[in-house]
């Protein structure tokens, strides 16, 4: 009766099956709510030619930025890729492909991917470079473009608490892209700060139901702050 005990006990186990050329969906916004240790594990494994879908690509030396150091990433799908000198260098040198996607469209593509919706229309990006090559259609006098959904081989997610069933809750704005990412991976791995007893999470307030989750691991996190802003006085 271990079918619903999704807890694994090593990062090797957590990322087992990741192979060169796969697509990895990674949660987080900036450095907030990123699966720090799962990223580190990918670096250790040395997996190459990855397509990584994540709102941002970390910073130099932290977050997804560490996967740039050994050129493990072939292509990034993101909405914003500033604050990363190595990223810029590899992009300009043609060593890295980047598909810039509006943030809301990216979030919706991932949700749609997990929800069995292969494509949807959105007004976002109509009339801009994002619309190039995409179908345009009018609904009620407004123009929309057709956007395909995104799924991945692996989804790597940072949660706060989880139970052995894979039910997850997120902490504050560390939620961000994580819930959609969790639904869109063939294999979804969630690392959390705490594994709680079955029944400890209120069923009505679970952010990610366990049906989406394949593996859960507990870790410790640096949680680096990108813009430390404090109130005056």
């Amino acid at each position: 009766m271990s079918g619903f005990d999704k807890v694994v006990h090593s990062y090797e186990e957590a990322m087992a099956g990741l192979e060169d050329g796969m697509t990895v969906l990674a949660g987080g916004f900036g450095l907030c709510g990123i699966p720090e240790n799962l990223i580190t594990q990918i670096k250790k494994m040395g997996t190459r030619d990855l397509t990584v879908v994540s709102n941002n690509c970390g910073v130099d030396g932290f977050g997804l930025g560490v996967l740039l150091e050994d050129r493990q990433i072939k292509k990034m799908v993101s909405s914003y890729v500033g604050e990363n000198a190595l990223f810029e260098k590899q992009l300009l040198a043609g060593e890295l492909d980047v598909e810039l996607t509006p943030q809301g469209t990216l979030a919706e593509k991932l949700r749609a991917g997990g929800a069995g919706i292969p494509a949807f229309f959105t007004a976002t990006g109509f009339g801009t470079p994002v619309a190039e090559g995409k179908e345009v259609r009018e609904f009620n006098g407004k123009s929309y473009i057709l956007e395909p959904s995104i799924t991945g081989d692996f989804a790597i997610v940072k949660g706060w608490k989880a139970d052995r069933y894979g039910n997850v809750v997120y902490r504050h704005t560390a939620q961000n892209f994580n819930p959609m990412i969790a639904t869109a991976g063939k294999i979804t791995v969630v690392e959390v700060e705490e594994i709680v007893e079955p029944g400890a999470l209120d069923p009505a307030h679970i952010h990610t139901p366990g049906i989406y989750v394949d593996r859960v691991i507990v870790g410790t996190f640096e949680k680096r702050i990108e813009q430390r802003t404090l109130s005056q006085g």
């Binding site: 916004f29 900036g30 450095l31 907030c32 709510g33 709102n55 993101s78 909405s79 914003y80 890729v81 500033g82 810029e88 992009l91 300009l92 980047v98 810039l100 509006p102 943030q103 809301g104 469209t105 990216l106 979030a107 919706e108 991932l110 949700r111 959105t122 007004a123 976002t124 990006g125 109509f126 009339g127 801009t128 470079p129 994002v130 123009s143 706060w160 902490r171 504050h172 704005t173 560390a174 939620q175 961000n176 892209f177 994580n178 819930p179 959609m180 952010h207 949680k223 680096r224 702050i225 990108e226 813009q227 430390r228 802003t229 404090l230 109130s231 005056q232």
Partner: protein
């Protein structure tokens, strides 16, 4: 005199209404939060998944898990809610945000806006700006009227890659408040001490100048 960054924010803040849900972009738009008129309550939406953004935290309350879309550490106000990016952009795309304020490189007489990419330089990405301009009915663009070299940013047609097409109706610059109607900029107000002539000179796009153009007033 051209408006300061703070004065631009103050002028924009006059457009706030009680009960508005507002998304403020990075830069001058962020300053608008400092000038909410007395007797008015607004809620700030941050597209990373926070509705009801509060002030910056203290050393005691700072938390890496509580940031805004500018990646600054913030707090949650009373009545706040926190949710996923998909839910956040459902609000934005679905037109539920009452006012969006953002910066731009260029706007034009057709309501086009360019704000995310300068070809030849590095592309950092559009973030949530394309969703914000496509989803909102009520958008205020704030920017300097002209570049440092005196080149107008209010154009007959944007020259840079667009962020959104035909979506901008209001612009506040350091010189003026303008609305975009029927393929023209309409001069509604001028900064205190700024002449209509200077505005005409620095507006490259077709500009309609009413007989009387009031000066902005600040409380």
């Amino acid at each position: 005199m051209a408006l300061s960054r703070e004065q631009i924010a103050m002028r924009i803040a006059q457009e706030l209404k009680d009960g508005f849900y507002v998304n403020l972009g990075i830069g001058i738009p962020t300053l608008v939060a400092n000038y909410v008129p007395d007797g008015i309550e607004v809620m700030l939406q941050s597209e990373n998944g926070l509705l009801g953004m509060g002030p910056f935290p203290t050393e005691e309350t700072i938390d890496a898990d509580m940031i805004n879309a500018g990646k600054q550490t913030v707090t949650a106000a009373t009545g706040a809610s926190i949710f996923s990016s998909a839910e956040s952009f459902a609000m934005i795309r679905g037109g539920h945000v009452d006012l969006t304020v953002l910066g731009a490189f260029e706007v034009d007489v057709h309501g086009n806006i360019a704000s995310w990419m300068i070809p030849g330089k590095l592309i950092k990405g559009m973030g949530g700006a394309m969703d914000l301009v496509a989803g909102a009915d009520n958008i205020i663009v704030c920017m300097t009227h002209a570049s440092k070299h005196g080149e107008s940013k209010l154009l007959p047609a944007c020259t840079l890659p667009l962020t959104g097409a035909g979506c901008i109706k209001k612009v506040v610059t350091d010189l003026a408040y303008l609305e975009i109607e029927d393929g023209c900029f309409v001069l509604k107000e001028r900064a205190p001490g700024v002449t209509v002539e200077e505005i005409i000179e620095k507006t490259a796009g077709n500009l309609i100048v009413p007989d009387y153009v009031p000066e902005m007033t600040f409380a």
